[in-house]
Symmetry: C2
Subunit: 422 residues, 2 copies
């Protein structure tokens, strides 16, 4: 039996962290959720904010709001800078350390520039709401600058977008961007035809969507090509510079490069814990998701390395949610002095979408591509959106966008650089 | 009769500018709308974005979207830096000058710090979407910092908000902020009670809402006090400093000061045109709204000084819209070689709201305060929101917020300063 009121500290309010907190509601544990953002983010739809199809508030909910009816949970808006394993404390920037009885680390991942961090300035990646708003602004400003540009070469470069990385995020971003250019903004300009927009999806591997079976990945590639996206596989990005990208020796002038290739753990979690990590900074956890040698410290979500059928589990929401639920169950069992089985992953399949009427779905035995898969994709995403209001609001916004091809969120809210300065 | 295709250049896509452009649809005029933002803003609801009741996309529509079906109109995203009256050109930052046959200047106003521009840093004002998002962040971060603060004095200062200026914007902001603190966020925190929030509405004049009759202004003051707002009239702000405001000799520690007092023309329009202005930089226009001596140059909206029953017209949306419609009609008449009557203002009355169930309404003979006035306020605002989708979406968001007291837009999207650094 555990002591009376164990303090459970959860670092990161993504899908995994929120699940831990919610599944400890009504227990005698005290829960503290620490995040450097004040909101939980529905990351699978972040690309739709970047392409002006949804607004930030559609895919984010304040963490306090999610936990407001759970009196045993509190929320700290702070940045974790380390862990003191001896003193059993989480170290915060500019605030007192927080002691824990159980520590759950769910920091997620960030994109990896493969040793070229200097590319980030010209090829931003998409992880936070503020990334999405800033990329939305970059995309919209490229069209604005093209509308005012008289030189055909420069105009062409302004209307060229390169997406680096052919995983689900790159594919979804490419599809949504193609629709923004070719449909939603079709009537918006007088000097350019947005349909002249060139979208390159660059993948270093021999094919895109490597986590899907060949046949489905190929179907997605065809769907992208129907939307006018140029899919280039075996395309190695050799350099990113202001206004251009160099791919397999070819210098391609383009105003906008977006980076969606490869991830690493968002924080140096191996160093914090003093344990080994895998190649991308993840912790190989024990069968109960604890850190080897530290039975009260757990790593879940994208930063955990858990083998399943000989492969590490992918960094997707269902994995993190199942792991969060499991750890909460484990803590409840420990408080009651009961044993618990090791974590077991239930594969819910794999989904990716291309624009607004095509998706691919891999459920193991069942493999689907096309409109039906897209309807399933829509249904699953609305179902899992945290917060009732968001479900209705997102659904209406989608329905409206679907009917009219209008983009309600085409807003440039930051300071606008002069067209000549791009 | 005017020449075949006169070029009408409209500077500013507020209520007045958009009205000019839309009312020239289907004519042989070519219309160019220039604005430094890419969106038309429904300014009367901007305070609701600042207090997390609405999202930016609810109250803004891309200018291109508004004019997309009007082939004779084009949009320039650019900053106007001057006017060449000899060459009949508008001068842009970092772009070629744009020649005009008719020029309509509708630049609007900005807030006036009465010679203390250095106060702006610590007492921001609310004019643009990015102002609203930044003020929303300041407000939410003040509560976050208070939740983590242990010193009772500093905590009290973090929960003190001073609003400078008792006009409609100050009153509406105060009411909405009070509701955010006392209702919407009631269950969000564990260490502070948001109901302890102190909101000061500071007005230098003997009473608030000077444009309304005494009785209505007093009713609004009572409604504010019921929401817990401290209304201080005859309160002169003597200094704004980081973390404090000095009012009539009293030093009040407060983390957040918002400025809503007094406006001046947003650009030095008098200098551009080489004509005299009134005290706040507005141009006294001729009875047809043209600039004296320049029959093809017009000033409309907040930057125009037009007398009506011995008083200058107020800087509100109905005035700008009527003026925009009039100037479009005048240009159509000139193209047809017909005469036109001088501009006549039709007074539609005056409205202000206090929170979500109380408004005051002055229609001349009819004066209302209370819930019925608020329903009228709601109806009028939804009716005038440009863009059908926004109407439905805003209505749902309002209805949802009204039922649940939740604020869906409580998002901090920018970089978060450390709590100790506030």
């Amino acid at each position: 039996m555990d002591k009376r009121e164990p303090h459970v500290v959860v670092v990161g309010a993504g899908f995994g962290g929120i699940m831990v907190a919610r599944n400890l509601a009504g227990t005698r544990a005290r829960v503290t959720v620490i995040d450097r953002a004040n909101h939980h983010l529905f990351q699978p739809l972040l690309y739709q904010v970047a392409t002006a199809a949804l607004s930030p508030a559609n895919i984010a909910a304040p963490i306090r709001d999610i936990l407001r009816r759970q009196p045993n949970a509190e929320v700290f808006l702070a940045e974790v800078v380390g862990v003191d394993m001896q003193a059993k404390c989480v170290l915060l920037r500019d605030a007192d350390p927080i002691p824990w009885d159980y520590l759950i680390l769910a920091p997620g991942t960030r994109y990896n520039y493969f040793g070229h961090d200097e590319w980030e300035r010209d090829a931003p990646s998409l992880k936070t709401l503020s990334d999405a708003v800033s990329i939305r602004q970059d995309i919209l400003l490229a069209f604005e600058a093209a509308e005012m540009e008289r030189d055909p070469e420069r105009r062409k470069a302004l209307l060229t977008f390169a997406l680096v990385g052919g995983g689900p995020t790159g594919v979804e971003l490419a599809g949504s961007l193609a629709e923004l250019a070719q449909r939603a903004m079709r009537q918006d300009f007088r000097h350019i035809r947005p349909s002249e927009t060139r979208i390159l999806l660059l993948e270093a591997a021999p094919r895109i969507l490597s986590m899907f079976p060949d046949k489905l990945a190929l179907a997605a590639e065809r769907a992208l090509e129907r939307l006018g996206v140029e899919v280039r596989t075996g395309a190695k990005v050799e350099s990113v510079e202001p206004g251009a990208v160099v791919v397999s020796g070819e210098h391609i002038p383009c105003s906008t490069v977006l980076w969606t290739a490869g991830v690493v753990a968002a924080v140096p979690i191996g160093k914090w814990l003093g344990v080994e990590t895998d190649r991308i900074g993840r912790i190989a956890v024990a069968p109960d998701l604890s850190v080897p040698g530290h039975p009260n410290v757990f790593v879940i979500g994208d930063a955990a390395h858990v083998e399943h059928e000989g492969q590490p589990l992918p960094g997707v929401a269902p994995v993190a949610m199942q792991q969060g639920r499991y750890v909460a169950k484990l803590i409840r069992a420990r408080m009651d002095g009961k044993p618990i089985e090791p974590f077991r992953y239930h594969d819910k399949g794999n989904l990716a979408t291309v624009g607004r009427s095509f998706a691919i779905l891999d459920l193991g035995r069942l493999k689907l591509s096309g409109f039906i898969a897209w309807v399933l994709w829509l249904w699953i995403h609305i179902w899992y959106l945290i917060g009732f209001r968001n479900k209705i609001s997102v659904f209406i916004q989608w329905a409206w966008a679907y009917i009219t091809w209008q983009r309600s969120a085409r807003l440039i809210t930051g300071p606008i650089p002069a067209p000549g300065k791009r």
